[in-house]
Structure formats: structure tokens, C-alpha cells
């Protein structure tokens, strides 16, 4: 006889949940005025409106200011090592597909040290929501250029101006094969809440880039207020090429849902593998028989 796996049955009783029900007793440590506060409030609101029971929600994170996110939530959380939030979230989701899994990241965590995982989570279409709080700077290490910092930016690690061209997270999401792609700005909470809700509700890998300025090391509030605007109303989110064209625009930074498609999720695909693999009752004796002389 094979040992049985321990499983905990989940109850999906959509209770009448309020944003406060998702708040933990750990007070956020972000600098006053940080864009991440806005993301946190919108997140509380989004998950409460979706009615996700806190014990069925898992928030994973890496390192950076964004990494502290799970501690402020009354859900299950996993504060991982630097850059590895996506594999962590993939492991959680694949081991327990019933759970709602969100991965919180920043531009350094996700597009520098953790960049290698982004296209893989996207191409697998792991059914998780990846929210990147992009402040275009390393905040927690006190102000070095990040992979989304603009050319010429003069900071401590780039005293003569940044010469590394910034990368385009949305285009990376497109080429990786993300099935839901959007962009928000932390100073537009209403739209952001709606986008977070849609991203979580989407079945598949959702990627939401949020401009979330760093008041201490790179205050970009005014800049983003000037250069962001909603995607044109007529934008067809099933039109990948159109979405990519909008994402390529570097003068106007469009906010909203760029793209969505339906594709089997990673756990769906793996269920298929299980069906294909399973032939009759499994027994350890039979497995040993293959090696018996």
C-alpha cells in the first residue's frame, strides 16, 4: 500500500468580506507617500470584492520594498528570496491548484535578478496573478538604477547617467505568452482596483505592471501623471498586435487591460498528463515487478 497524501479540504463559502478582513496586524514599513500603499489598499478592496476567503489566498513575494507585501495581509504569505517569487508561486499553485495565488514583485526583483523566471511562468500559463510595483529604482538598497530606470538617470550607481537602456515589461509579457496583460498607476486607485480584480479573476497567467513611485529615491508622481493615459476605449483586448503596439509607445504610457486570451492553464495541462498517465490501479508491487528478475 502506498501512503496517502495529506490534504486539507477547502471550503469556498463566499462570505461577506470587507477590505479590513485582509489587513494583518503588521503595520506597513513603507515610506510615507510610497505608491505601494495605494496598491495595498486596492488589493484589499479587490480581493474582498471577489470574495476570496483569506485562508484560500496565498501571496508570495521576493525581496525589495514589494517583498514586504504579504506580511501586511491576513492571508497565507510567503516572503521568498530575491527574484524567485514566480517559481515559488508556481510551486504553491501546482501543489494546490484550488488556492488563489498572487505574486508580488518589484522591477529589480522581477526584471533584473528574477528575469529568467518571467517568460517561463508566462509560457506555462500558470494560473497566478503577477503584480509588479514598478518604481524604476532600487528603493530598499537606497537608490540605485533598476532595469526600468530611464537612460541618463543620475543616481548613486550611475553618477554620470544611466547608460543601460530600460526594458519594456509589457512587451516581455507579450513575448513570454502571458494570457492577461495590463498596466495601472498607483495614483489612479479606482482603475487599479478594477484591473487587480480582473487580473485575479482571469484563468491563467496575469501580469499587471503598476507604476508605483518611490517618494524617497525617485519621485516620479508628476511624471507619470503627465505621461499616462487610459488605453483608447475602442481597444480590442483580444488583438495581440494592437496591444503590443500600444505597449511599444514610449511617449504615452497607456493604462488598462492590454490583452487577454483563453489558453489551458498549467494545472489544467497537468491534469491532462495525469489522465494520460493513469492506467488502472497503481501499485508499488507492480512498479517493483518491472525490475524483478
Amino acid at each position: 500500500m502506498l501512503p496517502e497524501i495529506q490534504t486539507i479540504p477547502l471550503h469556498f463559502d463566499k462570505a461577506n468580506l470587507k477590505p479590513n478582513d485582509y489587513k494583518s496586524d503588521v503595520k506597513p514599513v513603507w515610506c510615507p507617500g510610497c505608491g505601494d500603499f495605494g496598491v495595498l489598499s486596492s488589493f484589499y478592496k479587490a480581493v474582498s470584492e471577489l470574495g476570496i476567503p483569506p485562508e484560500q489566498l496565498v501571496i508570495a513575494s521576493g525581496i525589495g520594498c514589494s517583498g514586504r507585501f504579504p506580511a501586511f495581509c491576513n492571508s497565507y504569505g510567503f516572503h521568498g528570496v530575491h527574484g524567485r517569487v514566480l517559481p515559488l508561486a508556481t510551486g504553491i499553485k501546482m501543489a494546490r491548484p484550488e488556492l488563489v495565488v498572487c505574486a508580488m514583485g518589484g522591477d529589480g526583483d522581477g526584471f533584473s535578478i528574477g528575469m529568467g523566471h518571467f517568460p517561463h511562468a508566462a509560457r506555462r500559463n500558470v494560473d497566478i496573478t503577477y503584480i509588479v510595483m514598478d518604481n524604476e529604482i532600487y528603493g530598499l538598497t537606497k537608490g540605485q538604477a533598476s532595469p526600468t530606470s530611464p537612460l541618463g538617470l543620475e543616481k548613486k550607481s550611475t553618477p554620470y547617467g544611466n547608460v543601460d537602456r530600460p526594458l519594456n515589461p509589457l512587451l516581455l509579457a507579450f513575448t513570454g505568452g502571458a494570457t492577461w496583460i495590463g498596466r495601472a498607476f498607483s495614483s489612479r486607485p479606482k482603475e487599479m482596483t478594477e484591473l487587480i480584480k480582473q487580473a485575479i479573476a482571469h484563468k491563467g497567467f496575469s501580469f499587471l505592471q503598476v507604476y508605483s513611485p518611490c517618494v524617497t529615491f525617485y519621485d516620479t508622481y508628476d511624471h507619470f501623471k503627465q505621461v499616462t493615459k487610459p488605453l483608447p476605449e475602442g481597444h480590442d483586448a483580444s488583438d495581440k498586435a494592437a496591444g503590443m503596439l500600444y505597449a511599444m509607445n514610449e511617449e504615452t504610457l497607456f493604462l488598462g487591460k492590454y490583452y487577454q486570451e483563453e489558453r489551458p492553464t498549467y494545472d489544467d495541462a497537468y491534469s491532462g498528463v495525469r489522465q494520460k498517465a493513469t492506467k488502472g490501479t497503481y501499485s508499488f508491487e507492480k512498479l517493483m515487478d518491472k525490475y524483478r528478475r
Binding site: 497524501i5 461577506n16 484560500q56 506580511a71 491576513n74 516572503h79 508556481t90 508499488f284 524483478r292
Partner: protein, 599 residues
Amino acid sequence: MAQVDLTVRVGGDSAAGGIVTTGEIVARIAAYSGLEVYTTRTIPAEIKGGHVMFQLRTSEKPVYSQGDDVDMLIAFDQESIDNYYHLIKANGFLIYNSNDGKPPAANGNGVKQYGLPLNDLAKKINFTKGRNIVTIGAMVKLFDLPYDKAEEVVRRQLGRKKELLDQNLLALKTGYAYVEQNIAQESPYHLIPETGIVEEERLVMNGNQALAMGAIAGGCRFYAGYPITPASDIMEFLAAEFPQIGGTMIQAEDEIAAINMCLGGSFTGARSMTATSGPGLALMVEALGHATMTEIPLVLVDVQRAGPSTGMPTKVSQGDLRLAIFGGADDSPRIVVAPVSVEDCFYQTVHAFNLAEKYQTPVIFLSDQDMSVRVVTVPPFDLNKVKLEPRLLWDPQSVNHGGNGASGGGSGDREYLRYKITESGVSPMSLPGMPGGQYTAEGLEKAESGAPIYTPEAHIRNFEKRARKLANALQDYEAWQMYETFGALDAPVAIVGWGSTIGPVKEAVLRAASEGMHVAVLYPKLLYPLPADHIGKFIAEREHVIVPELNFTGQFGRMIQAQFGREIIPLTCYGGTPLATRDVYAKIKQVYEGMKVNV
């Protein structure tokens, strides 16, 4: 008639194909005929081309090492003759491809030479790729192995396509008939004793297969890994089995992703494992420390290969011990388990999972390349010996959390303390989905609730908690007998070793004992925490302690030296080959001779 104990080496170029197949098939024919087998191989890291060696040792009694010298050399090419002819024992056999190699002049040691025109024979049956099967047919006749068993093995191993199978069976017959008609009507070597063999129930498998089966029996249901020689076939094994038993196998984008996926899987309650080799372990070290810090159970298999860096991917080493025990930022203790044999790979994997779950900590399982690919006969695994230690789970009934699970409510203390300080150091763990059990697995230093905190008191308390947990594993070491002792336990000389060197040590100790040089042997299978009491008592009264191991600096030996403040005699082997019985024997002899001089 003396006991049959035959060592055969097969050598050739891998580009020609089939060297390892030849060895494996002959090994299986011997095993299926009721004999015990023990094999070893060295293969190039390249896919095609390069010299390959396969060695089979077979006997009616269990064998523990690959054998130092060979009774028979099967040389597919000149290079094999040049490299290995000197290893043939007096009165041994050389079988060579007379179309591709000239035997050396007879040197008076009685080696019998048989040339087989392999290329011609294969060409004659229009099957040029069938040279190795022709050779197998010849060996079956030379060793007087049952022909029906040979056919059965060829059917099982090569029977996927009917047409090819027919060709292979014809090749088998061709080799057999050639020997019968041209070399020896009567087989020159009888592997099966005239009295016959009392056939025991046996599995024919390698260490990675035993390990993967141990993982299945040990309750593992989540695996993420990245291909690396010589660990990849663990992943391949579980890729086939896991979907059938509700498990999950993910081929990750790199080793760092693999171990982080395992952390995620185990966080939800699934017994999780990854397997790699030295370079992969180096990449996983950060996440390993994270597993220690977040108290997430995890089994990390390191099938050690010769390094450093890329090193020799297909050669054996035990050079990762120090990395396994001490690698990481600050003191990040983890349990380190080392199996000693292919059979042991099964049972110690179960122990590794039990230790990981019981103490909510990562466990490194140190296998090695030689053990991983070596095909041997082992008794069937006994599932009655497998007892699963459950993870200590939090009981959701233990707190009043209200109806909807929103227990935190944004105010007041958390009721559930994930990192509660306990006497054993182990804190009950909640799993996602348990209402009221919400917490954050935290890599920062933390309060009992999991909330980040940097006070000296918390840091001290948690260091002590993590160390306390691991110390308890020493009780399991005793209770589960995670060690082997043998030899003359009152001898003045001891050998303390770890891992797969146990085989040659066993044989050398037997040989030395027959000459009056007695040795007591201890092989702990738990290397961290170090069973210092047991080892200390074992070596206390000895005049000399020899520590054999397959690495340059004698990593385990130095640990023993540091722990007990006494000299040891290192016996290091670092050429990428398994330990040789003769080297262990020579060391024992040297030690005994030194003792005589001192008297």
C-alpha cells in the same frame, strides 16, 4: 569447485555504440540466471564519441564492490586492449575484436586470447550495428549461461520493435554459434555452479531508481528539477510515475527555480523533493538557507560528481560534503543524510523525508555518481519497513476563529503562532486552506507570529530553536539505526566512513581479517547533525582511525579530527573513480605494520 566470483570489463568507443548496453545486458543475463551482480561504468560526458568502460562483477554470493582486477576483458577496439590488458588476472581471458585490434604478445601469465571477427560476423547477418549483441551471444557461450535467459533479457530490453528484435536474436545466436564452432565446444568458464543456485528474489536496478522509488514510498508527491548529469534520471523516473499517483513533476527553468518551486509545494503540505549534482547544489544554497529560516521541509538530493565547476560530470566524487553541511549564509543548519548502497538509497530516502517533515527543515541526501548508475541485484523493498512520520500540523480547532476565517481582522494579536517557541523547537504548522491559520513564511528574522522583528532576543531565540530541532534528529539516528557497523568491533584499528565507499571497505576488511589484521567499521548515514556520541565512543579506544573518502582534502576526516581533537588517517581517492578494495587493504596493512614497528 571454488566459489564463482567473476569480474568482466567491457571497453570500446561510444561512437560505435552499445558498450554499456553490452555490459548491462550481460549483467542482467547473469542476474536472471540467479547470480548476484554489481556493475560500474565510466562514460564520457559527450553524447557520441569517447572511450567507455563497463565493468560487471558477478557471483553466487552478494558482492560489494566492482572488483579491482578483471578476469575477462572484452575489448571492442585497440584502445581498450592498450588501456586494460594489464588488469587481466593470471589465467584470465581477453576477448577482442579481431577486425579492429591486435592482442599483445603472450606475456607468460596465462591469459587466454580469443579473437572474434565482430565486424565480419555482423556484416554476414546484414546488421552492422549488432556487433555488441554478437558479443553478448559469444559471452553467453563462454560463460555457459542459460541461452533461454539470454533470449529473455534481449526480448525485455530490446524487444520494442519486432523487426529489430528478430535481428538482435539472430545476432545473439551468431555470436553463440561462432564460439561453439571456432573457439570452444565446451565452455571454458562456468558461471553457474554445477550444484545450481538457490535463487533469491531480486530486483535489478541502479541507485537513482532505488532512490526515486524511496521517494514514492516516502510519500513524496511534488518534484521540481533541472536536468543535470548524473541526477536527471530521477526526474525522468518521477515524470513517468508521479502523474499516476496524484503527484506533480515540473521540469523547471533552472535549479534556483526548481528548489523554490519545492519550497512552494511543501508550504502547501506536499512532501517535496529536488535532485541535482554539485553545480546545481551550489545554485540552490541560498534557497536552502531560506528553507531553514522559514522552516519548510524539503529533500534535496545531490548525486555527487567530480568537480569543481563542470569537472568530470560522469565521474564519481564525494566532494560536496562540506558544501552540503556548511554552505549558506550565516549558520543555516540542515540535516545531511548519506546512503551507503543502491538498496540503502531506497530506505534512506524514506528517512530523509521523515526527518524533513518531522523537523520542518531541509534535508540534503548525498548520493554519488557511481551509486546512481550502478546496476546491482537488491532484495525487493519491504514496504512494511516504511513508516511515515507526519508533519506536525496546527489544529484549526485549537482557536476560535469565527466563521469566515478572517481571524486577523486587522487588530489584536494573531491567535496562531507559526513560529511558536517550543521545547522541541518544532512548531505546529498550518497549511493554506486552514481558516485562522494564516501566516507569512518569513525569510526575515521574526516574532513567533511570523511578523518581522530584528531584536537580539528574537534572533537568539530563533537560532536556538532551529538548532534544538536538529539535535533531536540524533534520537532518530539511534532509533532508526541509521548506521552500519561490522568487522571485529574490539579491534585496535577502526574505519569510519560514509557513503558508497562501504563496499570496497567491506571486502578489504574481510581480506585483512583473514590475515589476522582486524578492523572495526562504522558508517553513519546521518552526517549532520554529526552523531558525535556514537562516533566518539566507537573510536575512543582505537589506536588508529582510517577515514576513506572520495575527495581531495578528506572532508569527513577533518570533521572527525575537529570534533574529537585526535589524529585520523585519511584515505582519500580523488581521481573520479570508485575506491579500490586493494587501496583499502593496503592502508590497513600499512597501519598494522606501523603498529608492529612501534611495539
